[in-house]
């Protein structure tokens, strides 16, 4: 028994060392640096009291949440469609959809500017049609567009894999009981895809919260937290504030994901 315990501890050791070295210690260090500035621990309080920080935290969460929702809707619809309808070029289309995975955020930002910037396609078309140029690349809407663009490849494969596992007999059973296609979607397909939506959505949300390159490229009017951290760190040399913001960004993201996962889990338990 004793021997067994010792063996287990020994086996856990590598994981423990990696966890401590690359997660626990840096997080602890980050936390203490956050409290080491001119204002001390008040740096953490400032995140909630200073409207610059609070607004950027809230808009970061909002844009990440909106990105996640839009991405899941788009990936859900196209993922199920691509899984169920095999047509010539299907495989090519799926691999094209995962293409943007390789792009750095800067390239995505550049593409958003080409589409919705001052010289962009949307601007030219709207000018020709209405005489007024529609430009939104440098706003939060442009950022949202870029984030959705790079989130789709991160979620669509997960959704497709889950769609493949859906039992078509379940849908037939629901229909035989009188369910309309809409009810089948609500009662069978979405519950069946829910685990995939949760895991893909979590990755999508966390990536959108932390994305920097796209925001940096579009910077002008956007005030998301990674940008604020960058500004504090490099321009203001306010390392303590940057650390405090980083720590809080990590904690809040983790909390949001934990709550989402628990809510989803408990609703599954309550329904089942």
């Amino acid at each position: 028994m004793r021997h067994e315990t010792r063996r287990l501890i020994l086996l856990l050791l590598p994981a423990g060392i990696v966890f401590a070295a690359f997660f626990l210690l840096p997080m602890a260090r980050l936390f203490f640096i956050g409290g080491s500035g001119k204002t001390g621990w008040a740096a953490y309080a400032a995140i909630l009291t200073d409207s610059l920080y609070l607004d950027s935290l809230l808009s970061t969460m909002a844009v990440a949440a909106a990105t996640t929702a839009a991405t899941l809707v788009i990936s859900g619809i196209s993922g199920v469609f691509l899984q169920r309808h095999k047509f010539p070029g299907n495989a090519l289309l799926v691999s094209m959809l995962t293409f943007p995975l390789a792009f750095p955020g800067v390239v995505i930002g550049f593409m958003v500017i080409m589409l919705a910037g001052r010289q962009g396609l949307i601007g030219q078309v709207t000018q020709a049609l209405t005489g007024e140029k529609l430009v939104f690349a440098y706003t939060i809407a442009g950022l949202f567009m870029g984030y959705v663009y790079f989130s789709i490849p991160r979620t669509i494969l997960t959704v497709m894999a889950a769609a493949e596992k859906l039992d078509p007999k379940l849908e037939e059973a629901a229909r035989s009981l009188g369910a309309s296609p809409w009810r089948v979607l609500l009662d069978v397909i979405i519950p069946g895809l829910k685990p995939a939506f949760i895991s893909a959505g979590a990755i999508c949300f966390a990536t959108a919260v932390g994305a920097f390159g796209t925001a940096f490229t579009l910077a002008a009017k956007i005030n998301v937290l990674p940008m604020v951290i960058y500004t504090e760190f490099t321009l203001s040399a306010n390392i303590a504030m940057a650390a405090a913001l980083s720590f809080v960004l990590g904690i809040v993201t983790w909390l949001v994901l934990a709550v989402a996962r628990t809510a989803a889990g408990s609703s599954v338990a309550a329904a089942g």
């Binding site: 039992d167 059973a173 229909r175 009981l177 009188g178 369910a179 519950p191």
Partner: protein
């Protein structure tokens, strides 16, 4: 029963064929009339078109152009399944994993916007009928196969469907449970008086449950008839050999006797050109004592089953004859046995 609300429906298929997009012909043009309240079993090996026919009746597939499906004379060919009011039971149960047992059974009623109290009453009635009341709040993954199929049956019946369609409902269960549930399904169908269509590849299930059996082969109907007719008067060799066990002897007719390698059989009413005769194991017996017949064989294998012995007797043909003997005798390999065949059981196909 409580299902007086919906009268059983008669179902007619006219000229229904089915060709899949890849060009496979799953079903040759088929005409079939199913009476109200009748249990019809579609029987055949896999790929014979039985499930396709069921899916056309259900509304999950549309027949090729020119085919028609009629419920009580009304054309429902283009009516999707959700508007046909048919109950379906699948081999894989197809229960909703995100709902409890009660949630599954009440689902169809919820879709029909039946008031909550009525759903509750109907669900408890169904639970009691299938003897699964104590499982009401269980999750589906906590149920055994037999329990799942009971829930699936209750769910299909709860909405008082016009017809009940069962697609190999017992195939996934073990043999003992299959027998129990077969009995339950039989008494359920009788008590509901519902029009039921039952698809299976198991001839014992078909014989036990069907008012009529439709034997199918390669997308065509091989024979339609009552279980007894199909067993005793099979229309084709395929039917004869698919249902039950069939013995075969080859030879020729000579003077009112069929002569084969093992001897001769007196058969006055034989067709003159018979070169092959077929008969069931119950129409042949091992003679006892000094009785002599013109037919001799040697025991190739004997399996003592308790109430009887199943004998495989070598008579010089490609296949040994199968004989069920109730004799209190210990057969062993190589024993010579005299055989007697009841000429009333002889078939030529």
């Amino acid at each position: 029963m409580t299902d007086a609300g919906n009268k059983p429906v008669s179902i007619a298929l006219t000229n229904c064929s089915k060709t899949f997009p890849d060009g496979t012909r799953a079903l040759e043009p088929l005409d079939l009339a199913i009476h109200a309240g009748e249990t019809v079993v579609f029987l055949g090996p896999s790929g014979c078109g039985k499930t396709t026919t069921l899916r056309i009746i259900a509304g999950l597939e549309e027949p090729d152009a020119g085919g028609k499906v009629l419920f009580d004379g009304t054309d429902v060919t283009h009516l999707p399944i959700e508007q046909r009011n048919v109950g379906m039971v699948f081999q894989s149960y197809a229960l909703f994993p995100n709902m409890t047992v009660a949630g599954n059974i009440g689902y169809g009623l919820k879709i029909r916007k039946v008031p909550g109290a009525q759903i509750k009453a109907r669900v408890s009635e169904m639970l009691a009928m299938m003897q699964i009341t104590r499982l009401a709040d269980r999750r589906i993954d906590q149920l055994s196969g037999g329990q799942r199929q009971r829930v699936a049956l209750a769910r299909a019946i709860a909405v008082r469907p016009r017809a009940l369609l069962l697609d190999e409902p017992l195939t996934a269960l073990d043999a003992k449970l299959r027998d129990t549930l077969r009995l339950e399904i039989d008494s359920l169908l009788r008590s509901l008086g519902i029009t039921a269509i039952y698809v299976t590849h198991d001839q014992a299930e078909a014989m036990a449950l069907g008012d009529r059996i439709v034997v199918m082969e390669h997308g065509r109907v091989a024979q339609i008839g009552k279980p007894r007719d199909i067993y005793q008067r099979p229309a084709t060799r395929f039917v004869a050999e698919f249902i039950g066990t069939m013995n075969r002897l080859t030879g020729s007719m000579n003077n009112g006797r069929f002569i084969c390698k093992a001897g001769g059989i007196a058969w006055p009413e034989a067709p003159a050109n018979a070169t092959e005769i077929l008969f069931r194991p119950e129409d042949i017996r091992v003679v006892e004592g000094d009785e002599t017949t013109g037919l001799q064989g040697k025991v190739a294998a004997a399996f003592f089953l308790g109430d009887r012995t199943r004998l495989f007797v070598d008579v010089g043909e490609a296949q040994p004859l199968v004989i069920e003997s109730t004799a209190r005798r210990d057969f062993s390999h190589g024993d010579p046995v005299g055989l007697a065949i009841d000429p009333r059981g002889l078939l030529v196909l």
